[in-house]
């Protein structure tokens, strides 16, 4: 199936990025690229620098060295809101949803950047703002349908089970209609069935909307099944990069990760 998906040009490339906190070197001269429409995984043992890498891409952390190139533009570092505006959305490992709000409101909040009318019109809910609200609602309803969370639309997010919260998190990221989606351990803490559902949704998103997906994940098995290419980090260095099969056969990776963890 994935063969039919057309993987395109490089959209995002990371060149020699280094990041340290005080004396701790989280990333050391890491380089890799992400191609249009692919599912790209970053894996590695705990503390390998996976989350740091994602936070660099998303503009939460600013690397001391190296550059990030996104769709031809070069950045010494990225800014969070800038990333969002350019179509990079992300989910969080520790779900950062609006726990006190309904599922619907959470996903609608994800549409915020797409709102064109100004806050005053929105506040009064008149004219173009009302029309816009309806348009956004339709987009959001399609996402709700897509992720099969119709039954929870009006429920408060904080009261949902963990697996569903993860799905709402994904829904909110999708509401931004991103061209690149960063997923931070989307399957962490899930049971087998929830993991399978999540895999299916990730592949469907990739297939249906052509969204490029960068995911970091601890669970090797899952990653190998759904990724086109995999980057392996260990102690902040890149030790492997290639198709799942190539990575599986890479001795450095086996030593650092597979040999130890599985």
């Amino acid at each position: 199936m994935s063969g039919a998906r057309r993987i395109g040009e490089v959209v995002l490339s990371v060149q020699d990025v280094s990041l340290s906190f005080g004396g701790v070197r989280a990333l050391q001269e890491v380089s890799f690229d992400v191609r249009e429409h692919e599912v790209r995984a970053i894996i590695g043992p705990n503390g390998a620098g996976k989350s740091s890498m994602l936070n660099v891409l998303n503009g939460v952390y600013h690397p001391q060295k190296g550059t990030i190139r996104f769709r031809g533009q070069e950045f010494a570092d990225m800014e969070s809101h800038r990333a969002a505006e350019m179509g990079i959305a992300r989910t969080f490992q520790n779900i950062a949803l609006f726990k006190g709000m309904s599922v619907l409101d959470n996903i609608m909040a994800g549409r915020n950047l797409k709102m064109r009318t100004n806050l005053l019109l929105q506040a009064l809910r008149i004219g173009p703002a009302l029309r816009e609200e309806i348009e956004h609602r339709e987009v959001v309803e399609r996402i709700i349908d897509f992720l099969e969370i119709q039954a929870y639309r009006k429920m408060q997010v904080g009261r949902l089970p963990y697996g569903l919260q993860k799905r709402v998190d994904l829904a909110r990221a999708l509401a931004m209609e991103p061209s690149v989606l960063l997923l931070d351990e989307p399957m962490a803490g899930m049971n087998l069935e929830e993991k399978q559902d999540m895999c299916r949704f990730i592949l469907d998103v990739n297939d249906q909307f052509g969204t490029t997906i960068v995911l970091i994940e601890h669970d090797m098995g899952v990653v190998m099944d759904i990724s086109d290419r995999v980057v392996v980090l260990d102690y902040g260095r890149k030790i492997g990069d290639g198709t799942p099969d190539e990575v599986r056969g890479n001795q450095a990776v086996i030593d650092a990760y597979l040999g130890v963890k599985h």
Binding site: N58, S80, H81, A84, E85, R90, F92, A96, L97, F98, K99, G100, M101, S102, D105, N106, M108, A109, G110, N112, L113, M115, L119, Q122, A123, L124, R125, A129, E132, E133, H136, Q156, G158, R172, M176
Partner: protein, 333 residues
């Protein structure tokens, strides 16, 4: 089931206190209702000020000490501007001034201090309080001014048939209550039904997550402070027309503190209900409790109105620190 005995007990005591005068015949029903209404009226104003507190606290985590000063400042602006233009124009202009003020506070106070300790922000709002008090006098003068709403101040006698002696109701009070209720309803609709309201709730729920979906935090703060300015304006006009616009108006902020403790710092409903409870409680205590205290303990008996609210708030801090409606996750601002 999780029973909260202290709260049940406290509720029971208060309820008995409320019913006792009527039940024992210590008060004629007509008079009792007058006291009740008077309490509710004061409560409405407490609610409005507390509402401003709760809004800002929830959305930006700042305990806004300046809320009382904002009430005074808004009332002064309306009173003085109304000398030069029709009242409605004065109010609109005053509202514009409050929005500009909100914008300035965000720019000059909040933005530089973002991610600082809560104490730093509290101190900053304390600074804003004194600045507004002083600056208000500099701009508008320091006399006592009046706001004329054009509503008859004479009390009207109603329900004469039902109660002996009827009940005295102030028409102005009635209008004020309606306006306050409309404001609260309007705010509720604004928060629940509009995209801006949704963004405000999102910010209140989780700053970081709100930023990651592209909600502009700074603009949201301006809106929240503007809304708080609007609430202050309404409170200032109502109170100012009743008692005259004077410096003591800013002291009302001190009454709002026990109200938010009672209602819960983050709850709009809590602010409203808390305000009403304190308003009524105070009046009731003053009118019905003090004679008892005088009789039993031979005390002087006055001034209950001044400490009642604080004692109640203290009791609440002991048994239910999160307040009546404050929860870990609140679905309303």
């Amino acid at each position: 089931m999780r029973k909260n005995w202290p709260v049940i007990l406290l509720g029971a005591v208060l309820l008995t206190g409320l019913v006792l005068p009527l039940a024992t015949g210590a008060s004629p029903p007509g008079f009792y209702i007058e006291v009740l209404l008077g309490g509710l009226m004061a409560g409405v104003l407490y609610s409005l000020v507390a509402l401003g507190f709760a809004l800002i606290f929830k959305a930006s985590g700042v305990f806004n000490f300046a809320q009382g000063a904002m009430v005074l400042f808004a009332a002064l602006a309306v009173a003085r501007l109304a000398e030069r233009m029709p009242l409605w124009a004065a109010m609109l202009l005053a509202l514009a001034i409050m929005v500009v003020l909100a914008w300035l506070i965000e720019r000059l106070v909040l933005r530089p201090l973002v991610n600082q300790e809560g104490v730093a922000l509290l101190m900053a709002t304390l600074g804003v309080t004194y600045f507004l008090d002083g600056f208000g006098q500099t701009v508008w003068g320091s006399d006592i001014y009046s706001i004329e709403l054009g509503i008859a101040k004479e009390p009207v006698m109603v329900l004469e048939k039902l109660f002996q002696g009827g009940i005295l109701v102030n028409k102005e009070d009635f209008v004020a209550a309606v306006v306050a209720a409309a404001l609260v309803l309007g705010l509720a609709l604004f928060f629940q039904k509009t995209a801006t309201g949704r963004a405000l709730r999102a910010v209140a729920d989780d700053h970081q997550a709100a930023q990651s979906v592209g909600i502009p935090l700074n603009r949201i703060w301006v809106i929240v402070w503007s809304v708080a300015g609007l609430v202050a304006l309404v409170a200032g006009v109502i109170w100012g027309s009743k008692l005259g616009v004077q410096f003591s108006l800013s002291q009302v902020a001190l009454k709002a503190l026990p109200v938010v403790i009672l209602g819960g710092f983050t709850s709009v409903t809590g602010a409203v209900i808390g305000g009403l409870i304190i308003g009524v409680g105070e009046k009731m205590a003053e009118v019905f409790l003090s004679p008892i205290l005088v009789k039993t303990f031979d005390l002087a008996g006055g001034g209950i109105e001044n400490w009642f609210a604080y004692v109640l708030a203290l009791l609440f801090l002991l048994v239910r620190p999160e307040g009546l409606f404050g929860e870990k996750h609140i679905d309303r601002v």
